[in-house]
Symmetry: C2
Subunit: 426 residues, 2 copies
């Protein structure tokens, strides 16, 4: 057993932080045995005590919507809205991932960047290419970081080079599923129809069958952009809403489901999400950069929908989930002033979204509670802490002002995660 001593901050509920100054968290076999302000709370026989001093210890970050092959386009190409942006910048970049050498080079950088920002779990879109997707899964596994990795499925409204048949998609998925069949592994497949505009009914149906046959989770996009929603209405005229177009194919809560964006979800769609336990992934940076709009997160939470956060590279520009939290707060404030969506989100709420709420999609992690996997970051904020700040203010300042330099240790499932290699040679 290992016992870590430091200032513990986490969100057992979304209403407030639990703060334990000079607290102790005991970890055995990757899981938390207990948390206490007193060392003598634990049976310390054979326990190793790791004193982290004046540092902050917080749950590690979960990024619930991110496109690994768009890593090269991070911070560029954000001058169009969704559909034009996809065709102009995103699809041409994704085509390059037919080349596994290119894929490995970019994916190594991507995994390294997640590590740097303290993201220890992610739900990731790859491309349609099975071989490149396999490389990404291996890189996560080698890094010791948790990921749900989706080979993307699409068969309409996309360039020929990114178009596949339903059979091709199923075969490639089945191969990856067979290779990554341990349900307890850190790296797992996730069924990933890109979104309704890119998938024929046959593809959507096949994806739903695949997910249910293997009891695998599903991820896709939902109600992100007005033009996209109009297109879905045209493509799926008998669906009562965008979410219903997934639901009728078994892709909306029949197995655990992530839906990114939900900017314009109607009351009906929100109710469908609640009923199916579908988790909304709020991506505020992306929704700003490609001019999608403001997701009414307060409404989603109030109606009982599960909510997490995503960086959505490269619609989003920042892989730091701390920055994504800041944007979630800011967009919520703007939505309260301009759209009347009140009250504003709070810091514990967005922190909870990126940790405990998101973590519930992987199992039990994202909080420091008995039985939870120990996914944690150790923050050395000494340069930010130059005055008399409370522990909560120190965390807030790190979230708003800090960067990778402040993250001095990263743990995933109880193991310290060393810096992943950027290339074979390094």
């Amino acid at each position: 057993m290992k016992i870590y001593k430091g200032h513990l901050l986490f969100t057992p509920t979304r209403n407030e932080f639990r703060v334990i100054e000079n607290g102790y968290v005991a970890v055995s076999d990757g899981r938390i045995v207990g948390v206490s302000s007193q060392l003598n709370h634990f049976d310390c026989t054979n326990a190793e005590l790791i004193d982290l001093g004046d540092r902050l210890v917080i749950p590690a970050m979960c990024d619930m919507h991110v496109h690994a092959p768009q890593y090269r386009n991070q911070g560029v190409c954000m001058d169009y809205e969704l559909l034009t942006w996809l065709n102009t910048y995103t699809f041409p970049e994704e085509e390059k991932f037919a080349d596994t050498t290119y894929a490995e080079r970019i994916y190594r950088r991507f995994v390294h960047a997640l590590w740097r920002m303290g993201t220890m779990r992610a739900a990731v879109f790859a491309t349609i290419h099975g071989d490149s997707t396999r490389i990404l899964m291996r890189l996560f596994q080698e890094a010791g970081m948790g990921a749900l990795v989706g080979k993307v499925d699409m068969d309409r409204n996309c360039p020929d080079a990114l178009c596949e048949t339903v059979d091709e998609a199923i075969i490639a998925n089945e191969a990856l599923i067979a290779e990554y069949s341990d349900p307890n592994a850190l790296v797992r497949p996730i069924i990933t129809p890109r979104f309704v505009p890119s998938c024929t009914p046959a593809m959507l149906h096949a994806c739903g069958q695949l997910a249910q046959r293997h009891n695998l989770p599903v991820q896709s996009h939902l109600s992100e952009n007005r033009d996209e929603i109009a297109l879905v209405r045209k493509l799926e005229p008998t669906s009562t809403c965008y979410g219903d177009a997934y639901n009728r194919y078994g892709l909306f809560g029949q197995t655990p489901t992530l839906m990114a964006h939900c900017v314009y979800s109607t009351d009906e769609e929100i109710e469908l999400m609640r009923q199916g336990g579908v988790m909304a992934v709020h991506c505020p940076t992306s929704n700003l950069n490609i001019a999608s709009g403001m997701s009414p997160v307060r409404t989603l939470l109030d109606r009982g929908v599960r909510v997490s956060l995503g960086s959505d590279i490269s619609g989003g520009h920042d892989l730091s989930m701390f920055r994504v939290m800041v944007y979630a707060l800011q967009v919520s404030k703007l939505a309260s002033v301009t759209l009347g969506v009140k009250p504003q989100l709070t810091l514990p709420e967005v922190f909870w979204c990126a940790t405990k709420s998101a973590g519930s999609f992987f199992g039990r992690l994202g909080s420091f509670e008995p039985g939870y996997e120990f996914d944690a970051l150790v923050i050395d904020d000494s340069d930010l802490n130059f005055d008399h700040y409370t522990l909560l203010q120190r965390l807030e300042r790190f979230i708003y002002l800090g960067d990778d330099r402040h993250i001095v240790h990263r743990y995933c499932r109880g193991m310290e995660v060393p810096e992943p290699k950027l290339s074979h040679d390094e």
Copy 2:
């Protein structure tokens, strides 16, 4: 004469970047002699060539609205709107600046942080305290960085400890003005009535007189928040708009004037700004954090109003003007989707706002043109530049993803600016 060789990127107009790959900029006596893609364009007798290699060379940043005494509150205390926020967090912090020891400690950190972020010119609010303001001016001078520093004037709706008489305010201002009387100095006073709610008509009148008597610029706040505007309407019932309440006291273009925010400026107010050459300072981070709203920057530009950018610490949370540019783009995109303010701002426009447009308030700087002061940053983006990016994409990625680690040289008025000291001892 010194000749710097590198990739030059700047905005002579707001419509597009000028990009000179492996270009040369020649500097003499702090000013730019010329810019060329050919070395033989210059008479190189007695010239020193400084080869900056594959680095980007760009104009240094100008932060046109920032509160130095709020540096301690950066990244915390953003859960209220303007008026409550001022009374709850900001005024109590500013009261501490009666203590010059505290002031010097915080102001050293503030100047250091500006330096770190590549901001070589700033328009700064201090507090009402003359002695502390004097320290801030000295620290800028010692650092070799340009600043317009304002002793804040206020005499109503503020705590007793921050309330002064008109006579006290004038005496303190006159003393600073006498000490910093060289019109060509890097550090200059700026007349700073806090805002209409904090200043009686007598104070506003005295500030206007002071500015005109000494031909000094003016800075204040304008139409930031709906409650604030309602309060101004009550306090100045005969003014036709908030801007008019400044204008009638000689504080709206009678001398060069900066007005921060302009979120809710009416057509009349915008026209008053245009006529007076009043420069709007757009502070998008602050407008999000304390839930003010979205400034219609496109409308201001279209109507011929001068526009610059401000970090507005601590309503804003980020001192990087590069991040402020990103937020300006994002808010503009959201304003186009939700309010119909179109077209969206572009990258060259926001860059121009933070460099050449802002620079025009100080004289001639913020661009690489003959006769302009050489204020520049050298950017080593090699870790961001891992693929085939154009020079413009490299700049864009630095703006979206870069940080102080990428800024390897800083120049102000032709002199390289070394790292300022954080304390007497260091």
